[in-house]
Subunit: 337 residues, 2 copies
């Protein structure tokens, strides 16, 4: 029931995902009276769906604490319960991000050795794609959090991108060791002291994201959230300039028509719907947050992210990895900010 | 003597600036033996130049504290001294940013009522351009710093962009009042309590930068620096995609040739050299930092920024404004992070 056009785009997105993943089965939580007529338009999807009726849902403005207290019978909470009870392999929602995170934390709990979950998503780079985290779950982070985000991000890059030995970089204001915030320098020291199942690259800067210098970019959730949205805004700005360029004369209009196929390909590469689906990582369960304003194609991709992580047993992988390297390998610094 | 191609691009940039601003006079600080032969190639510039010889300069790797202690006779320190002594109206450097900031702070001091200088620069938006600060001078900021950055940024927007009543926004992870870091929420409260010579818009998000939602974006220097470079990296990535698109077939190559004039215009709009020249604002003197890797055209633009600010008496304006609104109007909170 979450997002700008629910439940319509959720149902249509599920129908698209069903074509891509024929073995998938959906539990749909929400208002039966609104869901059933939509399902009637998608008979192939309807075969693979169980509807769990509830008339309550979390609104997009609701504060997380309020949602947590009063949302026990909300579609969001019931969907998370299904993961917690092992009935569902993961949950996908286009609803209120803060409420989803709060409910998921309380209900699913953290993986052993992880203090706080993070939001991770892939971003396009010159050489392919990289993962960036935290994208907004934690506005204040200490050095331990950043080190744990490195572990989680590396597990994401291995299971979702299939990179055997991912490289991890810490976002900072300069590449030199003496630069930046205390927290970030402490985190770098912890990365260097610890035997890690990935390669710690050191500090990276903002322009390393587009360059794809590392496979995983680690940053606090305040900066990460603003950076992510600034990058999205820049893509929109550039696209607007491009549109104006092609409309500036009849010759350039013709030029656009000539190269429209190539441009379709380019647009597909940077299509934000392709990168829809941010993962709440570090939780004892798969939780994927879709953009609230996405369409059916975007929502189907968010479902695809959840399917990928289920298929690759990402959490088992993280647990094994943390056990292998021992909890003592994740240093607990005294660092706070 | 600073930057990747000094003193060549500095001299060529000065020569270009001299054509644009015929009344300008330059004091050039550096190695006479290297400067004079270059000046010989630019006789029109040479008429407007006084060379102050020094064999010492600050390298790009030097730590600010070291530069400050051992760089008394460096070209950078001598140029700043010329501003402090009223011999020069402003200083432009493509050298070590940290050293330039440290020397400028110690030598020029802060304007009355300002605790810390910030780095401010214009950025292109869908509707024109906006100012963003701090871009890296202060990796940790408290609420008072952010409020002062708002004052400084508004003065910049008024004098450099000519906007009578600029709007100021605080970058945060969401637009709602309850969102984000304590520091940012405290700063918002201070903005709202204070009678200000500009309009405080409230919280803005990362994608508001490209949209140009406000004239001035206020953020701590850690986040601001990473955001700025991430945006630059995204523009580079998008340009690379565009290049690949046009090279993908002979038809799209032809299309590019047809629309090459329009594309030249578009490139000019997003040309980072056009936006070269970050201002150290809040200091008792005009200090402009050019990108180290820029060319003569970019360096000339950085000189142009300094000329603009001198011509508009930006610091007199800030001092008058702070006096008008009274020092008590810049609240001193107990906020620290």
């Amino acid at each position: 029931m979450g997002g700008d056009h629910a439940p319509e785009i959720v149902i249509e997105g599920a129908a698209q995902a069903r074509e891509r993943f024929p073995d998938i089965h959906f539990l749909l939580f929400g208002d039966e009276g609104r869901i059933e007529p939509l399902l009637a338009q998608h008979p192939r999807l309807a075969e693979a769906v169980t509807v769990r009726h509830t008339s309550e849902f979390v609104s997009s403005e609701e504060r997380p604490a309020v949602a947590l207290r009063h949302g026990r019978n909300s579609s969001m909470q019931l969907a998370i319960n299904a993961v917690s009870e092992g009935e569902a392999a993961g949950v996908v929602s286009a609803g209120n991000t803060g409420a989803l995170m709060a409910m998921a934390k309380v209900t699913l709990k953290m993986l052993p050795g992880i203090d706080r979950p993070a939001i991770v998503a892939p971003c396009p780079t010159r050489v392919g794609e990289s993962a960036m985290l935290d994208l907004g779950a934690n506005v204040e982070c200490n050095a331990d959090n950043l080190v744990q985000f490195g572990m989680l991000g590396a597990a994401f890059a291995r299971t979702v991108f299939g990179i055997e030995q991912p490289t991890v970089g810490l976002l900072n204001v300069g590449a030199e060791e003496a630069k930046g915030r205390d927290t970030v320098r402490q985190a770098a020291a912890l990365f260097r002291e610890t035997k890690l199942p990935f390669k710690f690259h050191g500090f990276v800067e903002g322009d390393d994201i587009g360059a794809g210098t590392v496979d995983v970019f680690v940053v606090d959730g305040f900066t990460g959230n603003i950076v992510l949205k600034a990058v999205e805004g820049t893509v929109r700005l550039y696209s607007e300039y491009l549109r104006q360029t092609f409309r500036s004369s009849w010759v350039s209009r013709l030029a656009y028509m000539l190269s429209s196929r190539a441009f379709r390909k380019m647009r597909a590469r940077i299509d934000p719907r392709r990168y829809n689906g941010a993962t709440f990582i570090g939780l004892n369960g798969i939780v994927v947050k879709s953009h609230g304003g996405t369409d059916a194609f975007g929502f189907a991709n968010a479902i695809g992210v959840a399917v990928d992580m289920v298929a690759n047993d990402i959490n088992d992988f993280i647990i094994r990895e943390l056990a292998d390297y021992g909890e003592q390998q994740i240093p607990k610094s005294q660092a706070t900010i």
